[in-house]
Symmetry: C2
Subunit: 260 residues, 2 copies
DNA sequence: CGCATGTTTGAGGTGCATCAAGGAAGGTGG
DNA sequence: CCACCTTCCTTGATGCACCTCAAACATGCG
């Protein structure tokens, strides 16, 4: 890629490269401890519903139990950015949203969210190491996916970005279909997806058409997507392997791309 | 901006827009509790030094005490992305770095870092609410800045990105100079900065020249930067006000842009 | 049906990347 | 001290990936 030798700053990067391979068992997803539910308010969300980020002054914590939420940020004089997609098990705190920005937590489809004061959650964590561990892992997973998202926005071309999103959705909400593909709801419109990927909706539509023509994804009714060739899709996203590992390999190995 | 009426998904966004203004005192920075230091290994870093993300198998926590660090991620087949800049007070855990990626924690200049096992830090947090609160705030600040970074990469044009970085550095490491500007070390080369902003180094150089010509920043020796007109700089970054608030307004109000 | 909302596709423009050449700074040996 | 080299930065010319605009096409709902 670089025509000449590596620069010094690039050479530095390799030093701790082997580290991530050694993490091991910490990455298997920890289930949401039921004890949290006794202290939380249970919210049922509908498609498009916006949740207030702070509900009575104090800092608030949200735990996604079902469905998909998006965290959206609109800076003054700039277009909206969908900062994150939140899947079941994810934890969000109201202070994760930057100040002086229009922030919104929006449910993409029907779902269930637990809401509680951060102070109450901290108290639970202090008394129960399992809850502490769950929260630590949820935050780390969120942070790691945000880092991948930053790399996606900063370095990927438009096709790589779209492939990355489809891999992410397939891993978190997809189910194997009898036809051999992976099917999942697409509870966003094109504009939402474009704002997540930092693309133009028109460009996004073109990419999707190209992926359909290539046989990677299939035609399907509105608001659903079918992945016909997951390995081909994953090969188009540099972040695929990382996302697969973060998602905890809930999916059978057969549908994953073979290493190498 | 939009020629017709707002779309439904955009209209949703406004619902909890007022929330961030009500956060209040939680945003004043909490100092690093000294008790953590007794349990940590103190590392002194030099410019360009890479820190191993995990040092003996367990999950590791890092607390920046002095200097600036960068977290860099290189996905296979993609260019490097500098995911985050870490300033004094920031907390990083080894699992914040995505798996299956070349991740590196690199010191940008001379600094001091505290390193310890996550388990030990969790134990401290469970026994001391002040430490719990410090960690909560550090994680929230990191997450909020990552969200702003995502918005920067996804929505800003190149000049807005550069302005955002300069505001960030001025707030965290800048000192008022006798000449009336804000001066700070620039402990990165052009390639590092470009990789943080998702730009090309050539483009970055052009922007800097343009900002110099406009009188916003001044000429200065290598590895230093001078901001001559902070309000003009802040007005070029949609994220400026958010960053100012996150940084805890350590700087006097006089050099901040007036609200409006 | 008629309208509103959302998607697709084409034509054309532009912002940024790429390539290449020249310049400044710092280090090394004579 | 200067010549020389390496590294990094700057700046111009050129091209392409993606954005913008606009029109046609779907889809859902009263």
């Amino acid at each position: 890629m670089a025509s000449s030798a590596k620069t010094r700053s690039e050479a530095r990067s390799g030093t701790s490269a082997l580290c991530s391979a050694a993490k091991g068992p910490a990455l298997t997803p920890v289930p949401v401890p039921a004890a949290i539910g006794y202290k939380a308010t249970i919210l049922r969300t509908r498609r498009g519903q916006a949740l207030a980020l702070c509900f009575d002054g104090g800092e608030t914590a949200f735990i996604v139990r079902a469905g998909v939420l998006t965290l959206q940020v609109t800076l003054p004089g700039s277009a909206r950015q969908v900062v994150a997609m939140l899947f079941p098990g994810d934890v969000l705190r109201s202070n994760f949203a930057p100040p002086h920005a229009e922030s919104a937590l929006v449910s993409a489809g029907a779902g269930e969210v637990w809401r509680m004061r951060l102070a109450a959650l901290d108290a639970l964590a202090a008394s129960d190491p399992a809850i502490q561990r769950y929260l630590d892992e949820a935050v780390a997973s969120r942070m790691a996916r945000l880092a991948l998202h930053a790399a996606t926005l900063g370095q990927f071309d438009c096709e790589q970005r779209v492939a990355t999103l489809l891999v992410e959705l397939a891993l978190h909400t997809g189910v194997n279909s009898p036809g051999g593909g992976i099917v999942f709801d697409l509870p966003f419109n094109r504009k939402d997806i474009a704002d997540y990927l930092g693309l133009n909706p028109d460009t996004l539509s073109r990419i999707m058409s190209r992926l359909k023509a290539a046989g990677v994804i299939g035609h399907s009714e509105r608001n659903r997507a079918v992945i016909r060739d997951f390995p081909a899709l994953a090969s188009r996203s540099p972040a695929a392997r990382s996302l697969i590992e973060i998602s905890g390999a809930r999916r059978g190995e057969a549908s994953l791309p073979t290493p190498g």
